[in-house]
């Protein structure tokens, strides 16, 4: 089975996120990690590979240092990586990102393309659907279970009440949610061998990308300003003297919430 996983490098969830005031882009000079949601997608691909054989390829778009995120996926067990990286891609919005990824993916043969259902920094959760649309493939998102039998995909999509089970022919595109599995930690051996696994870096020219569709110039949305909201202030704090619940109820009533 030919499996491809799209991953992103994001700002460490422990680091302070900020926008560069000159460009309104995410400041990526801080510590960066493999998007936590993508670890579930990589793990799911590795499990499908263990069950059905085949290859797992990781595709990432980002600056040169995003190679670390690809290497992490390789250390987990993926076989090969592709890093789509070019100065001209910086500042791409959802459409620019989906376009560049889709063009890179057209050069790969796959049965199943997996995404994490969103990133912890951009948080749009829109790139998987946009890529699937550009590739003209069936798409199912927010999956809590993924199984393959022959050329049929069987999945569960989480809903508020439970789940919906779908079946779909391959090739297809999916996004998976946190909790679908328990992502493995890379072993020491995995980390050592990841350094020797093939990792191809492709720039905009190699992919034949239309410059008018990518980067800040191709972006179809723009940030005009970014301001910190008025910080929330602490309100009333009381010790529970046996009257705590009644005081909360009084407060809620005063706010017309009860």
């Amino acid at each position: 089975m030919r499996l491809v996983v799209c991953v992103k490098q994001v700002i460490d969830t422990e680091a302070e996120n900020r926008l560069d005031p000159a460009s309104w882009r995410v400041d990526r000079s801080v510590n960066c990690i493999l998007n936590p949601y993508d670890e579930y997608a990589v793990e799911e691909a590795l499990r499908l590979q263990e069950a059905h054989g085949g290859e797992v390829t990781v595709v990432c778009m980002g600056p040169a240092k995003a190679e670390e995120a690809v290497r992490k996926a390789l250390a987990m067990g993926a076989d090969a990586g592709v890093l789509v990286s070019d100065e001209v891609l910086a500042g791409s919005d959802v459409q620019g990102t989906a376009y560049a990824l889709a063009e890179a993916l057209k050069g790969l043969q796959f049965d199943l393309l997996l995404f994490g259902n969103r990133s912890t920094d951009g948080e749009t959760g829109c790139v998987p659907a946009a890529v699937a649309e550009r590739l003209g493939l069936p798409f199912l998102s927010c999956l809590a279970k993924v199984e393959v039998s022959g050329d049929t995909l069987s999945v569960h999509r989480e809903t508020e009440q439970g789940y919906v089970a779908y079946q779909c022919p391959l090739p297809a595109v999916v996004s998976v949610i946190k909790g679908i599995n328990e992502p493995r930690y890379p072993t020491m051996k995995g980390i050592m061998t990841s350094k020797k696994k093939p990792l191809e870096i492709k720039d905009a020219g190699a992919l034949g990308l239309d410059p008018s569709q990518i980067g800040q110039t191709g972006a179809k949305t723009r940030v005009l300003a970014a301001t910190a909201p008025e910080p929330r202030k602490a309100g009333t704090k009381v010790e529970d003297d046996g009257e705590g619940a009644r005081k909360i109820a009084d407060f809620l009533a005063s706010q017309k919430l009860l």
Partner: protein, 329 residues
Amino acid sequence: MSDKNGILVVAESAQGRLANVTLESISRARVLAAALGGPLSVVVTASDAGPLAAQAARYGADRVYMVESPEVAVFRPGPFVDAAMAAIQAADPAVVLFSNSPEGRDVAAACAARLNAGLLVDVTGLEVREGVVKALHPCFGGRLIAEKEAVSLPVMATVRASAFAREEAPKEAERVPLTVDFGPVGLAAKVIEVVSERTGAISLEEASVIVAGGRGVGSAEGFVILRELADELGAAVAASRAVVDAGWMPHQSQVGQTGKTVSPQLYIACGISGSIQHRAGMQTSKCIVAINKDPEAPIFSIADFGVVGDLFTVVPALTEEVRKRKSGS
């Protein structure tokens, strides 16, 4: 200048009712339509769209496009994208609003890709200035609010639940049935089974009151008292990451940076210390109440009302208090 005019809201529904976020979007779209000119249209997609159309009219739609088919009885991205695209072609709007739910994002992202148009995601503010739509988008869990605009037409945006008020404004809406040729790619995904394990469960994003528990709740069983309070308040139950990681509550109940972002009218945090990652998912709540044993817990720094105390005594007492006041005794 483009001929595009008016606003189209792509409705989301469940069990024959429009989602709250759709009603909020229609209410806001009415204000935008007044500023921009042009009609306010809504597209409803369901196996039985009549009740949805009536509801859209009650909130002020001038025109309701109805896509009715057994193919759209249960959500799947492909046919819902085709339905939204058919309405976009029919209405030729200047602005298209979707809901920022998983389903809404699936449809919005695919429509935007098909039109190669910009998509403003997770907006909490929409206004018209000098004839141009400006959107507010909280980033990094609300620590920054970005003002954005689209540079392509139509302007497309996904709207966060609870960002706008719901307001009825009944109208005689024109009903326009749309016949849609669903594409084979979208139809390839077949619905096999719909399983409801938690009937009546209120979606966290849609809930106007949320009772949330953290590590202080201590166990899965500890959530029983939170659920009782939630039932009394008509609230949804949420959890912090520690709780979900410990397996006390399901993943879809997690609020925070690696979970859901919510902004209910009232968020009651029980035994939640309030890490920066948790606050990222709930600090835009209109009102926050915190119950925690630790007087130094960071949650108190953003709580409108805090009680330093044992949640195992305060929560059941609060449930009782709410019950008493509701029955008027």
